[in-house]
Amino acid sequence: MTQDEIVARIQSHFGARVLGTYSFRGQAAVTIAPEAIRDVLTFLRNTPELAFDMLMDVGGVDYLGYPDEDDREWRFEVAYQVYSVAKNHRVRLKVAVRDETVKVPSVWDLFGIANWMEREVYDMFGITFSGHPNLRRIMCHDEFVGHALRKDYPINRRQKLSQPSENLLCEKPEYA
């Protein structure tokens, strides 16, 4: 299935919950509202013709200071790259996050790998995920203050760790 057909399927199925679409160099992206992400991913995974069975990556974007800042209604985006091994096609989903108070529903029970990826987005951008079983920092140490990949994080700020981090010991996640 081509990218345009996939986007058309998502648009016809979700209507107003799709905030926008665009395509760049043959890569299609669909922007959606936070509360729709679980429904869209479930739809993509369970529809036989789409069969998106693999979540490749979850990443964050901070648009603070971006050239279109004045027109932009949301500061952050969470981007989900999904891929179908069976059909060999892929699509990009973007969740619009107005600011850090918005909670994005976790998708870790749909795609297990999202557990650690969402922790990374939380660590780097401070975007919180509701329903996540273990939303702690995954890369920066426990005494780190702030979120390193935000555009307003000072580029020269260094934060020291006073003692070996618990994260370096064997990790035991507590699932709800």
């Binding site: 890369m139 920066c140 140490h141 390193a148 700020r157 260094r158 020291k160």
Partner: protein, 160 residues
């Protein structure tokens, strides 16, 4: 020669420092703290082509308590820094530290929130090795530098 005849054994007279330093500099036990590609280069240093055992430092110990030469090879993140400090503290005196490569010496090109900008922020360093990664000859050069430094030490007084 009268003395030798008296004790009935051949002997040479020297200074205590010389004997201790001689023993130390030809039998360094390295503790490799390898966190990145420099540690791969270290494999070349200890293997047969370059062979650091020609300089007596081939007995690599993976326990800091049995080592006297700490080789820090690779990027040290802020998260790893307390671990490195702990390893250094666990080594018995006398001990020497080689900072191998750009990352360990200065942070290298990782000028960012997560990387220590040189391990001398955490522990004292005796020899810095330039390179990304350094050639094995460079590392052997650092071992020889440490040897020269040991030669200048007043071992009998300094490390009581």
């Amino acid at each position: 020669m009268g003395l030798e005849a008296q004790v009935n054994q051949p002997f040479i007279a020297t200074r205590m420092d010389e004997v201790i330093n001689w023993g130390r500099k030809y039998s360094m036990w390295p503790m490799p703290f390898g966190t990145a590609c420099c540690a791969i280069e270290f494999m070349g240093v200890v293997s047969s082509r370059f062979d650091v055992s020609r300089f007596g430092a081939e007995l690599v110990r993976f326990s800091p308590r049995q080592a006297d030469l700490l080789l820090v090879m690779g990027t040290i993140t802020q998260k790893m820094a307390p671990v490195l400090k702990q390893i250094y503290d666990q080594m018995p005196n006398p001990k020497w530290v080689v900072s191998m490569g750009a990352c360990a010496s200065s942070g290298g090109f990782y000028d960012n929130y997560s990387v220590v900008q040189g391990i001398d922020e955490i522990i004292p360093v005796d020899v810095y090795v330039a390179g990304c990664p350094p050639r094995p000859e460079n590392v052997i050069g650092a071992v020889v530098k440490i040897m020269e430094k040991i030669d200048r030490e007043r071992a009998a007084v300094d490390w009581k």
